[in-house]
């Protein structure tokens, strides 16, 4: 039998919206921006809108954005962004159907595994979190995932970026809590790259900016968009309507508002600097009408995410979503179920940046153990995306000729040749026989994750910064700390050498 050309691999994909459906969402979003307008609480942004000949109601700060301006801005915004790690050597394309997982950002608590309780994180937790993220292979990016409680609140945003840059070379998803923080954060990023020019050419960080639903960009978030665009730092637009609370209750209605808010953000970025990178992202949620909470693990939340990502793709923009996280309070079945479902659906939707790993309790809590478990989930999602490959031709008939008398394929060269490429091997999921599992102490997934976290933190050595660079970054951070009345930085055992 002669070999035929190998067949292409089908990329597994899920889409929820038809083309006319997407077009109507965009059309209604543009109508909303033109007729109802959107509140912009930032003088500089309002000035840009006026200069672009848009109607601005001076009293309320409401801007009526013309359809033509949005369309013009969609022509100047890049369709993909390339991030580089701290060394500048490894690149990651954020665009097309590339999928990159990163930990959920800005948790205000950490799950203490020993006591099964939540507490405020401190510097040592932040360092552990970054080092663990660095070691986990399926998290392509790190995020400034914890807000450290042992530094003044006013510098917590700069500080978490500083710790991230010190302890991992992975690109970083971050953002500002205060307008004043942008300058030192930019300085940290420029120092790592050896100058402003290199920093702008090889982005290392994405900055998140969230509009306030419904239909408002606040002073702080506008400023982040303006500052980032001028510095050519990618802005990730994080609309976050809550169905029936801060956005229409129907999924379709929320998608219209989401699209309108994100498009307005995109326009602000392009007015500040045409060609500035923008990521069409979000963290909307189904709003629980009983509890008044915002479940990120609700299937409807995931459906909104997948749908707006489809809108973003239709507009040829890089996409982001908060998926692959859970509302569970401990590492139980709910944590695995919601995270697994979300991560797999995000991958199938081809969302470029998927933030959420490690997160629980409505985006408020990070767990190192969950981060390790979620890394494994992300690994499974990546395997799924690689699809079913046509490795050789014929696919199988030739394997039976020589082994007619054999009853298994274990010793077959074909098995040895392909098994590692075709199959993945979990670090945590239990595949032992019952007896072997019992022998090992009848551990749960969470127990095994805790073991793995301990061993990684003991053994993993992230790529180090040079002593000079370390000193430069520490000087910037110390200066910022002094500005907030903190005489010296908290002890960082891993970096204080």
């Amino acid at each position: 039998m002669s070999a035929r050309p190998l067949l292409p691999v089908l990329r597994p994909r899920v889409e929820l919206l038809s083309r006319p459906f997407i077009e109507q969402i965009i059309d209604e979003a543009l109508t909303l921006l033109g007729l109802h307008g959107l509140l912009v609480e930032n003088e500089e942004a309002l000035k840009l809108f006026r200069e672009a000949d848009q109607d601005v109601d001076a009293a309320s700060g409401r801007v009526f954005i013309k359809r033509e301006l949005v369309e013009q801005c969609l022509r100047t915004v890049p369709s993909s962004v390339t991030l580089y790690d701290r060394s500048g050597r490894t690149s990651f394309v954020v665009g097309g159907d590339e999928v990159h997982f990163d930990p959920g950002s800005a948790a205000v608590t950490i799950l203490d595994p020993s006591a099964s309780k939540i507490r405020r994180p401190e510097t040592a937790d932040l360092v552990r979190f970054v080092r663990l993220t660095d070691a986990l292979p399926h998290l392509h990016f790190q995020s400034t995932g914890l807000v450290s409680g042992d530094v003044p609140e006013g510098m917590a945003d700069v500080y978490r970026l500083y710790i991230g840059l010190l302890h991992s070379p992975k690109p970083v998803v971050t953002g500002t809590f205060r307008m004043e923080s942008f300058a030192p954060m930019r300085e940290l990023l420029a120092s790592v790259r050896g100058g402003e020019k290199n920093r702008a050419q090889k982005p290392l960080a994405i900055f998140d900016a969230c509009p306030s639903p419904p239909l408002k960009w606040s002073r702080l978030t506008c400023q982040s968009l303006l500052d980032c665009s001028r510095a050519m730092i990618p802005s990730e637009l994080i609309s976050m309507g809550m169905t029936g609370a801060t956005s229409p209750v129907t999924l379709a209605g929320t998608l219209v508002q989401h699209t309108a808010e994100n498009l307005a953000g995109l326009v602000i970025c392009q007015l500040a600097r045409p060609g500035a990178p923008v990521i069409f992202g979000g963290s909307p949620s189904s709003f629980d009408m009983r509890k008044g909470t915002t479940p990120m693990g609700a299937v409807e939340t995931m459906m909104i995410d997948m749908s707006y990502a489809q809108v973003g793709k239709h507009l040829r923009l890089p996409t982001h979503a908060y998926m692959g996280l859970s509302d569970a309070k401990v590492n139980d079945s709910q944590a695995g179920l919601e995270t697994g479902l979300g991560a797999v659906l995000a991958a199938l939707a081809g969302i470029n940046v998927v933030s959420g790993a490690g997160m629980m309790n409505f985006e408020s809590c990070q767990s190192l153990e969950k981060l390790a478990i979620d890394d494994e989930i992300c690994g499974m999602a990546y395997r799924l995306l690689r699809g079913v490959a046509h490795r050789e031709d014929p696919m199988a008939v030739h394997l039976y000729e020589a082994s007619a008398s054999k009853t298994n394929f274990l010793a077959h060269p074909h098995t040895r040749k392909w098994y590692r490429l075709e199959h993945s091997f979990p670090a945590l999921a239990d595949r032992d026989t019952y007896d072997a599992w019992a022998e090992l102490g009848k551990k749960t997934m969470a127990d095994r994750a805790a073991d793995r976290v301990k061993s990684i933190l003991k053994e993993h050595q992230p790529e180090l910064l040079s002593d000079d660079m370390l000193r430069t970054l520490r000087d910037i951070m110390t200066r910022t700390a002094h500005g907030h009345g903190l005489p010296s930085l908290p002890l960082d055992k891993q970096a204080d050498r």
Binding site: V108, R120, S212, M242, V249, M289, R290, G292, F362, S364
Partner: protein, 221 residues
Amino acid sequence: MKHDELLKQMTDAVVNGQAAEAETLARKGVSLGIAPGELIDRGFVPGIRRAGELWEAGDYFLPELVSSAEAMKVAMGVLQPELEKTASREGGRPKSRVVIGTVEGDIHDIGKNLVAALLAANGFEVYDLGASVHLENFLDKALEVDADVIGLSALLTTTMLNQRRFLDLLRSKGHRSRFKVLVGGAPVTEQWASDIGADGYAENAVAAVALCRRVLGGGRP
């Protein structure tokens, strides 16, 4: 009673969350010369009570509960001025005053709005200061309106600390015993309320109404 049918319609309008209907019925009651106190006590209040019960039983979700509160608020908007006319003649009955807001640094106000709406619907005089309210403003307003209760909401663990700061502020100014201070919000617990020396915590808006009544000595608002 001859107005029983009308009063029942008022109750139903609140239970069903029909604001326009509630307003029409309130005006009708006034035009028929029924005492506003009776319209409130026997017409509308049983409606908001029933909505609360349906919530407690798990039959009502937030959209129903909020609609009922809205209908109640609209009816009270009609009846309150009438009540004041009567009250000025008869001496009236004082209402308990609540100053409420989300603490500074925190812009989350959905939960606080629910509590404010239900308190107003249940006859409290509510001063809603909005979101991200400076701690001094809570105190200034409470002194200005001679409030009975101050309610502090916080959604974030970072801003929750401002609830403690407010109690410190009250104590430092020597006003602690003058007001009942209640705290709420997603990260807030009974334990937290007790740790910071607040007078109470409620898990949801319906419970907050009961809590207000309780700390004020169980009397009517």
